[in-house]
């Protein structure tokens, strides 16, 4: 496995040490992954279907805890804390997640959707704090101007792309350390996809992001670094430009040139 060395001398925000995930005992969806993610970068996670990329992503915020038979081993260090030894609720607040299918809560207004993290965590805010968080988060995802007069409408009335931006705003409202995205644009049209990509490049100034994607040109467009996974193993983790021009591993090259996928 090829590691990635740091560019600007910063501590990694996220570090994987020998991480494995199994759905049934002895069968590994993710095998011995070790690597590090640095602040203010976008890392694309690529690989053919079933290679374990989503599984790895969901290990970070302990989503596997929701299903009884999934076991995660190793260490995942997020901001100095071992995720697997920390309370999952705390971990999930430190790591925002955006899903493949936009999933604004249909019973809540746009306003309440942004604040859902606070409401769900039982954190009481006064009106000014609420307004501030909502406006900041929606400005962050460039949705504020589009919805500021429709705050009390349900989130499900928005277009797919707007819904996904609302979901990003919802994740950002809790000020996470890292943003995890599981194919966030695969259910969207090209124009919406484009806007989300622009948004992610903008957000990189404040956040570190991991984005699972099927779309190689998307990875090339927006990511700083790329991870290539195959059969549960991390084959290569490298600077995106390097990986796309001079992959170090034969399988990476085959994948990128479309021999399999």
């Amino acid at each position: 496995m090829e590691g990635i060395t740091n560019q600007n001398g910063m501590e990694p925000v996220l570090r994987f040490i020998d991480v494995s995930v199994s759905y049934t005992p002895g069968v590994y969806a993710v095998k011995n992954v070790s690597t590090a993610i640095y602040p203010n970068t976008i890392t694309a996670v690529m690989g053919p279907s079933g290679c374990g990329k989503s599984t790895l992503l969901r290990a970070i915020n302990r989503m596997h805890d929701l299903y009884a038979n999934i076991k995660t081993t190793g260490q995942i260090i997020l901001k100095g804390k071992d995720v697997l030894k920390t309370d999952p609720m705390e971990v999930r607040r430190m790591a925002g997640m955006v899903f493949q299918q936009p999933n604004p809560f249909p019973t809540m207004s746009i306003y309440d959707n942004v604040l859902a993290g606070y409401k769900l965590n039982g954190i009481k805010l006064n009106k000014e704090e609420k307004d501030e968080i909502v406006e900041d988060s929606l400005r962050n995802v460039a949705l504020w101007n589009e919805v500021k007069d429709a705050m009390n409408k349900r989130g499900s009335f928005l277009s797919g792309g707007q819904q996904q931006r609302l979901c990003i705003a919802r994740a950002l409202a809790l000020k996470p350390e890292v943003l995890l995205m599981d194919e966030p644009t695969s259910a969207l049209d090209p124009i919406s996809t484009n806007r989300i990509e622009e948004l992610l490049l903008e957000l990189r100034k404040q956040y570190s992001m991991l984005i699972v994607t099927h779309n190689m040109s998307q990875a090339a467009r927006i990511s700083d670094n790329s991870m290539f996974m195959y059969l549960g193993e991390l084959v290569e983790h490298n600077n995106t430009k390097q990986m796309f021009t001079k992959p170090r591993n034969r399988r990476t090259e085959e994948y990128l040139t479309g021999v399999f996928g």
Binding site: M89, R92, R93, N103, F105, T107, G117, K119, L120, N121
Partner: protein
């Protein structure tokens, strides 16, 4: 040709349902007219007197309407913690697991027990408990009936709510978990609000069941023809007064009993239609 006849036969069967329903409404209405004509529909409904003595003969439905509402709503109230727990157990906590299908089977069996057996059980097992608890001296009454009714409607309330709860999309729940919510917070803020119309409809349907339930209530309510003075009192429901007095009735009394049957039919029909309407809207969303 053969096909034409066959299609026509199918159509005829459907027409039969139409005639059946029309016939039902006609039978109830035409045989109620004697009572309604004598007392007036509204006065019959609001009159709490039920006096079959020939000299002072007078009939009104109010005692039984109130008796029905008291028992049914109290039963609904009692059944909620249990049926909602079962719904969460099957539709959320243990969704798709073996233990959940075992619980479902038990609930199905509860639904299969005939009303008269519930009545026997209420009489021989629950009534002594009610007496021991000092709720009333004889045990019979609204309270006893409601306890047994509550158990009888658990299957109806829980199995439909289970379905609506388990239809809440997983990606909504995962979205909430990813924000750091606990399970109960996800249930409270996501699962219940998203399935609320369906859950409400299930409870309305269960209420409809409780309103029309006959045998068990007849055996347990004490059968007194007056407005019950509270939950400890005895009384009669619309269904139980019919079951109790229909056999020996004729003339005005018979017509009054059938009129009560008509009222019961209208009430349950309205309740069921409300529930069906809600469910239709839910399934369209």
């Amino acid at each position: 040709m053969k096909d034409k006849i066959f299609r026509f036969l199918l159509f005829l069967a459907a027409v039969l349902i139409l005639l059946l329903t029309a016939g039902i409404v006609y039978a109830l209405v035409s045989r109620s007219t004697e009572a309604f004509g004598e007392y007036g529909i509204w006065s019959f409904i609001v009159n709490p007197e039920w006096d079959p003595r020939p000299a002072t003969e007078e009939y009104g439905a109010m005692s039984f309407i109130l008796g029905t509402l008291y028992t049914a709503f109290f039963a609904l109230f009692l059944c909620i913690p249990f049926s909602f727990s079962v719904a969460l157990f099957n539709g959320e906590y243990f969704k798709g697991m073996k233990i959940s299908s075992a619980v479902r089977s038990v609930v199905d069996l509860l639904a299969g027990i005939p009303s008269i057996v519930y009545g026997l059980w209420g009489f021989y097992t629950i009534r002594p408990l009610i007496i021991d608890l000092g709720i009333n001296a004889q045990g019979f009454g609204i309270f006893l009936s409601s306890v047994v009714l509550a158990i009888m409607i658990i299957p109806y309330a829980s199995s439909l709510s289970t379905e609506f709860l388990s239809m809440v999309p997983n990606n909504l729940k995962e979205g909430a978990y990813s924000l750091g919510a606990t399970r109960i917070e996800v249930i409270r803020h996501i699962s219940i609000p998203s399935s609320l119309p369906g859950i409400v409809a299930s409870y309305i349907l269960a209420l409809g069941r409780a309103l029309g339930e006959t045998m068990a209530v007849t055996m347990l309510i004490g059968n007194t023809d007056r407005i019950p003075q509270g939950l400890r009192d005895t009384g009669n429901t619309m269904a139980s007064v019919i079951a109790n007095q229909f056999g020996e009735a004729d003339g005005f009394k018979l017509s009054s009993l059938i009129a009560i049957g008509l009222l019961l039919f209208v009430i349950t029909a309205i309740i069921n239609m409300i529930a069906k309407l809600i469910m239709k809207r839910v399934s369209r969303l």
